[in-house]
Every structure is written in structure tokens, then in C-alpha cells.
Symmetry: C5
Subunit: 233 residues, 5 copies
């Protein structure tokens, strides 16, 4: 690349409208309006999100188990406000309220599924948009080429017309490869990483409710950690 | 895109015939005539359809359970006409008619499978049409190019010939990315969303037939709801 | 498309040889000679085939069950010649011959698997041919382009040479999208549709052999039908 | 195609080196050296191989069962040399040596898995090479185009340069569609076909060791055959 | 290819920045920074790695079993330093420390899962980079083409501009097909090959802890080996 063309050569408002408008319109046919509007928020969250600290989660569960053992399950009520993890929060609340272990587990699993479904939808939106944007880029280029070829009265404008026609392909490729595809992949990785946290949370809550000893709970939950973290203080 | 070509530059009847005719013909080889004719209706339904209100479904099941508990299963006969959900309707009708729980469950599952198969076929038609239309667009462009190149007596018509040849590619890309692909994706999402409703309906009917208490049924079915809806009145 | 080129512009025997010959040769490496020779027969059958009448199949099974109940299993021997469905035929023959239910079921399942494997192979042939024909179309175009470019002594023939080179791509695209891909899809749909018939036939034969009442058999088998057909006379 | 270019127009040694060398080098990164060297042998075997005669295999197993029944399991030792099928050979040898049925079955299953893994690796090599060869064809064409475009001092050589640049794409397409892809498909089909033979061999050996009657063994194994062969003498 | 262009025709620093920079940036959105930085190390390890010697692993497990049988499980403590395989090391250490078999097995399985997850992440990075690099190559070529076409004041520079524009496509294709794709495939093959070693290690440790006889352990573990190695000394 050695061109000296000004940056403005890459800006073309109608092209942008075709690619962005087309992709968003196609996305709106596929997905509910609410999910589409929420997807930039999902992208932002993806960038900022740190994967949860599993060791801290286990420590909190063990601390809860100690309190429950010492002072009874009902004393956990005062601690619920301090719990970050939504699954642990719901589970402890239900245990305190006297739900049976079966109901607690089913509710937690349903909640975990709902969470997973939300991640899956986010990924599906990114995936689809990553497929639509290059397609609308190509549609825009075809529109531009046909217009240009249909009216070749001034051959000297051929190059410029071609350049403008190619801009939509460029926009589509950039949108797909800079935004949608990487974020789709990221969301997929993140939801797989969260599965372990979810499993730790559910097993921890079940163990607390069944009154297992804090030491046994800790040993059991730490087997979910990778070797390096297992014996960490 | 900066062309000043009139809109008519994008209209070419023979091209339309090649792309639409070809795609529909290929679709007719794949799918039964009836399914193909029904597919625009499916697309329309997809746009208008709201996903079923699961909370209302649970409330109706609980109300039916209360009536059945208080006045006996047979009194449900008078309420069947008010039931919207076809699975619940069939299930209650069979329960009133005295079918065994095993037969009721198998019939409901078969009906749910038939429903899912109908959605899957709709999605398969959209998917295939979304694959055939760009292919026939390319076939049309090749036809146009060969005709143009075989007869280049007047080079000044080259541009116009090329423009017309490209129109079929444009048609194919638009048909695929504006109609078929988004609707295929939408149908796929919708049938996944319906799985929960189906599960709630079947479990609810089975619980009513086995005479469980309305409160227990409600608690059990609400675990299928996402957290926000679970405690709603 | 506005060309006035004669139809002969689209006929080129060497191109046809490259695309058809190449695809068939590649197909012969993949699949046994017998399966390749049989594949046009499979395509013909696909067009003519109507999916089996499941209701008639159930009625026949119920009629057989009534005869078996009234006059004993052995009297079914005289009816075997009237049975269309090959699985039912084999199963009743074996039951009459005194095979144990386990052997009858295993033989029927193996036969059903062999049938499914035959459909799968037909689909695999169509799928592969649908992948090879555009590839050999491209190979032919590359051959044509290289020949044309290597010898450009007469530039006025450039257009005609290009047209001829593109013909193989056109042939490949037409073969794939008019023949192979639609038939592959059709065969896939058809074998899924047959699974229910196979299940009805096997369950019916097993029920007849175990001497269940005709009414119970009918009720059980009808649960496999879609709702509309279930209560049909 | 109507070119009169000599065949030599399609021969270009550097192009061949780029495509073949590149594909093989990429293959060597993916697969162990030994597997790559063995892959032409695998391709040869694929062409010559006839699928095993399952009927003969069953007959041999029944004959072995008869001998074992009549003269005791140990007399099979003298027959081991005549057995072709490696699984049957290993199994009978182990049974004669007094291994327990559990160990015999586990060894046979491991051996069958190793065989399947060998086929899978052969298919994986073909698949990868079928993906790398068009890619290196494209890389070669890009190299050629860039060289040609960077030095356009003599425009009359443009056509010839383009022709040479396209040759690598042609080589890549031919290698993929004439060699690698068809053989990959063939290997996939062959290993699926062998699964039945393996199952027959393992079940047969287990039945011989447990001393089942030859007639029962034959009946059981024949259920694995397609209908036409089942009652063959 | 017959060009006489100097090698420098293939070097263009801005193009390299677009392709490498773009791919790495997209990769960093998908994967944690640490994993991306570690991926060259993974590639290096892949080249150098020899697959583990399973026979030696079994011999070591048998030797450990003999010691444990003769002198008690606790005497294994002195041998732990000599063990190479990390799973065996962890397992024996835990057995010596008195963990219950259930805990030992769960910890070993978690560790094996963590190992597999690390391999899967390495493969995912290679796969993604192999998808991003040609995409950024295309984006670079589009940028170059648009710049060139927008400013065609000097037609004699067209060829050179085109050559430079194509360089990014070349870079992307080379990066994908020389580096990322082959290594992705290699990592996939390697992790499948390691599954057997992992299974041998876990089963061996469990058998040692439960005090099985060394001969029985050896026989059991050798069934995991391919036939050729099974009876090797």
C-alpha cells in the first residue's frame, strides 16, 4: 500500500447506510428488538468483564458453611446482602426460606440455564451480524458496479466509481472481522469458562444446605480448580 | 456509491425469472409442493408471532388443577373450549376421556414432535432457498457474461451488458440476505423458545391428571421460568 | 440479460467432457461402481416416490393382529403375499416360522439399518457430486483461460475465448444446483420421513407376535401419527 | 475450450514446486513423518481393496465353533494359522491361551479402535491435503501476479504471465479434486463399512469362547447381514 | 511463474502491519492476553514435542505397584521425585497423603480436564488466527485498491499499485496456511493422542492405591496399547 489518497477516500455515507442499515435490518428479522438493542451493552460488558475469581467464590462458600454449622442455617439470612454471585444468593435465600433441596437445585439449574441462554443469544446475534455484514457489503458493491457500468458516458470516472463501489465491501469486511466475529468468539469462550463457576456455586449451596462440614466442602470444591490454584491460601 | 443511474437500471425481468424460477424449481425438487406453497404463510406467521406467555400458561394450568381437585377431573370437560394451548387441550381431553397417563404422555410427546418437525421443515426450506438463490444468481450472471462475450461486435455495449449480467447476482444476494437467511434463523430461534412452553404444558397436564396439589404444581412449573418472572403475580 | 447470442453459444462438447467426465471419475474413486450406476435410478425413484401411507400401514397391522388373535398366528402365513411393506413381510414370516421375538426384532432392526444405509449412500453420492461438479467446472475454466492467455496472437478472439472458458463454470454450477444438491436434500428428507414408518412396522410386528389385543395395538400405533390423522377412520 | 495451445503450456516446474512442496510441508507440520510417508500406500490400498466378504467370515466363525464344540476349545490352536481376519486370529489365540472373556473382549475392542484410528488418520491426512493444495495454489498465483504486475515493462507479456500465474491455481484444484478429496471420502466410507465386519468378528469370538451352539452363533451373526445375503448358502 | 522481480517486490512494511496487526488485535479481543502471549510457546512445543512413551509409562506404574505391594504404599513417597508424568505424580502423592480413592480420582480427572482445556484453547487461538489473517489480508487489499482507484492520475503506476494491493492477500494466505492452520490441526491431533496416556495414568494410580497385583495391573493397562506394542518387553 503506497497510496497517497486522503482519508476521506474511505468515507462514503450512502455506503455506510447500505451496510449498517442492511445488517441491522436483517438482524431485526432474526432477533427480538430488545435483544438487538441490548447487544452493544453485551459487547461492552465483554470487553470489561474479568472472569470471576473462583478461589474467592470457594472461600465465601466455606465461610458461609462455617457460619451455618456454628449458628444454624437461618443465621445466613443476615449475610445474604454480602453475596455477589447471583446463584449463591438465590440458593442461600431459598435454603433459609425452607425450600427442599430438590427445589433449590432445580431453581438454580433453571437460573443457570437462563444465564447460559442469554450468553448463547448474545453469541448468536454477533455470529449472524458477522455473516450479514459482508453479505450487505457485497450487495452494496454490486449496486455500485451496476450503476457505474450502466452509465459509462465518462470513462475517466471509471476508477473513482469502482473505488466507491468497493468501499461497501471494505465496510462489511471490517465490521465482521473487527467487531462481530471476535466478540462472538469471546462470548463463546466466556460462557464455557463460566460453567465451572456455576457448578461450584450450585454444589457449594447444596452442600451447605445438607450441613456438610466446611472442611469437606472446601476439599470437594477445590477439586474444580486448576492444579496451580488448588493449594493456594 | 454515487451513480445517478435511474432505478430502472436495477429491473430486468428475464434476470428475475432466472433467479426466482430457478430457486423455486430447485426448492420444489427438495420439498413437497404443499410445504413450498405454505412457506410464505410460515414467513408471515414468523413476523407476527409473539412468543407465548409462559406465565399465563402456568396460571391456566394451576386454575385447571384447582377445579380438578375441588370438583373432580371430569368437570374439566366444560373448560376445554377455553384452553388456547393445543397440547393442554388435547391432554385434558384425553385425561377426561379416561386414557391412561402413559398414553396421554406419549400422544402429547408425539404431537410436540410433529410441531417441532413442522418448524424444522420451515427452517429447512428457508435454509435451502437461501443457498439456491445466490447459486442461481451466479448461474444467471454466467449466462449473461457468456452471451455478452460471445458477441462483442459493439464494444461500447460492454459496460451495459456487464451491468445486466451482474443484476442476477444482485437479485440472488438480496433474496438470500433479506428474506431467506434471516427467516431461517428466526424460525430456528422460535422453535427453541417453544421447547420450554411445550415442557411446561406436558408436565402440567401430567400433574393435573395425577391429582397433585395446585400449589405443588405451580411451584414445580415456575422453576421453568427465568428468575424475573418466577415470583411475579 | 439481453444477449441475442444463439443457443449454440452455450454448447461446447469438450467442456461438457471435462465437467461430466471429471465429476464422474472422482465419484468412481469415492463410491463402488454399482452404487454409482444405480444412482440415476435412485434419482428417478426420488421424483416418483410418494411417502408411504402410514394410516394404511397401521390398518393392515391391526387387521393382521385380528386374524392372529382369532385364528392363531400360523394362519397369517396365507396373508403374507398381500403385505406390501417389506419389514412387516419379513417380520410376519419369521414369526410364523417360529423365531423368538428377540431374533425377529434384531433382524428387523438390521434390515431397517440396511435400508437407512442405502439411503445414506444415495445422499452421499449426490452430495459429493454436487461438490465435485463446480470444482471440475472451475478446473475447466482455468484450463480454458490458460490456453487463451498463453496464445493471444489475435486479441479480437479474447472475448470468444473467455466465453468458452466460462462455459465449464456454468456447466458445473448447473449440474450442482439443478441436479445434485436438490436431490441430495430430497433424499435426506425422505429417509427422515421413513423412520416413523419403520418404527410403526417394527412395533406392530412385535405386538402381533406377543399377542396383544388389536385395539391396544391400534391405539399404541396411532400415537405415532400426527394429530390430524390420529382419529381418522 | 478451443485453445490450440500445446500441452507444454500446462507444465511449469516452479509452480509445481510451490503447490506440491507447500502442501507437503504444511502436511508435515500437522502429521507425524511416518504417517505422511505411509499415505501413498494407504491411497493404493484404497484403490485395490475389496470390502471383506462378511458371509465367508461368518462361515469360518461357525466352522471354528463346530470344532470347538466337538473337540474342545484347545483344538482350535491348530487352526489359527488359517484365519485371515486379524481380530478373529487374536481372539482365538487368547481364548486358547486361557484369557478370561472380559480380557479377550477388551483386547479385541482396543485392537478394533486402533484400526479405526489408523483409518481416521489416513482420512485426516487426505482431508488436510485437500484443503492445503488449493490454498498453496492460490498463494502461487498471488506470487505470480505480484511479480508480473510489479514489472510490466513489456505489456505484450501480460497474457503469458497471467497464464503462468494461473497454473498454480489449476495444479492446486486438480490435486484436491482428483486425488485428495475423493480418497478422503473413500477412506471414510470404507471405515464405516468395516465396522460391521469388526462387530461380527468380536461377537463371533466371544460366542465361541462361551461355548454357544454353532447353529445359534450362525443365526445370531447372520442378522448382521443385509437381507439378500442372510439366507444365502 | 517466470517473473524476474527482485525479492524486495514481496516486502511491504505497511501491508505487514495491516495483516499482522489486524489479526493480533482481533485475536486479543477473543482471547485473554496471557493465552495470546503464550501461543508462540505452544507452537514451539508442538514442533518439538514427542508423544509420550506409553510403554515406559506402564512399566513405571508396574514398578510402583511392586514397591507398594512389597513395602507398603507409604514407601512410594521416596520415589515421587523420579516420576515424570504429572498425573501419576499428583496421584501417588495424594495416595501417600491418605486421600480417599474418590478424591484422588476426581482430582486427577479435573487435572486431566484442565490439561485438555489448555490444549483446546491453544487450538482455538490457532483456528481463529487462521481465520482472521486471510480476512485482514483481504481488508488490506481492499484498502490498497480503493486508494489506487481513487487516484489514477498516472495510469502507468496501475500495475505497481495493484501488485502492492495484492501483497496483503498474499501475506494473509501465507500466515494462515504456513503457520496457523497446520498448527491448529497438529494441536488437535496431539490432544487426542494424549487421551490414552491420561487414561493409563489414572487407571494405573487407582489400581496401585487399591492394592491390585502388579501382574494384573500390567495386563489391564497393556490392553490400551496397540497390538504391536502389547507384548513388547
Amino acid at each position: 500500500m503506497m497510496g497517497t489518497a486522503p482519508f476521506s477516500a474511505f468515507i462514503d455515507i450512502p455506503s455506510m447506510l447500505v451496510v449498517c442499515g442492511g445488517s441491522v435490518a436483517a438482524g431485526l428479522i432474526c432477533f427480538p428488538l430488545g435483544s438487538m438493542i441490548g447487544s452493544p451493552k453485551v459487547m461492552l460488558k465483554t470487553i470489561l468483564n474479568k472472569s470471576e475469581d473462583k478461589l474467592a467464590l470457594i472461600k465465601q462458600l466455606v465461610a458461609l458453611a462455617e457460619t451455618a454449622r456454628r449458628d444454624g442455617l437461618l443465621t445466613l439470612e443476615s449475610k445474604i446482602a454480602d453475596i455477589q454471585n447471583p446463584l449463591v444468593k438465590t440458593g442461600i435465600q431459598m435454603a433459609v426460606d425452607g425450600s427442599t433441596p430438590e427445589v433449590v437445585e432445580q431453581v438454580l439449574r433453571t437460573e443457570a440455564d437462563a444465564l447460559a441462554a442469554r450468553h448463547r443469544e448474545g453469541k448468536a446475534i454477533m455470529d449472524q451480524m458477522g455473516r450479514f455484514s459482508p453479505a450487505y457489503g457485497m450487495i452494496g458493491t454490486l449496486l455500485g458496479l451496476i450503476m457505474m457500468l450502466a452509465d459509462m458516458s465518462d470513462p475517466s470516472k471509471l476508477g473513482a466509481g469502482m473505488a466507491v463501489a468497493l468501499i461497501t465491501t471494505l465496510y462489511g469486511a471490517i465490521m465482521a472481522n473487527v467487531f462481530f466475529c471476535p466478540f462472538a468468539e469471546k462470548l463463546g469462550l466466556m460462557s464455557r469458562a463460566e460453567l465451572t463457576s456455576i457448578e461450584i456455586a450450585i454444589r457449594g449451596v447444596m452442600a451447605i444446605q445438607s450441613g456438610e462440614s466446611p472442611r469437606a466442602i472446601e476439599q470437594k470444591l477445590r477439586t474444580f480448580l486448576p492444579p496451580k490454584l488448588r493449594n493456594a491460601e
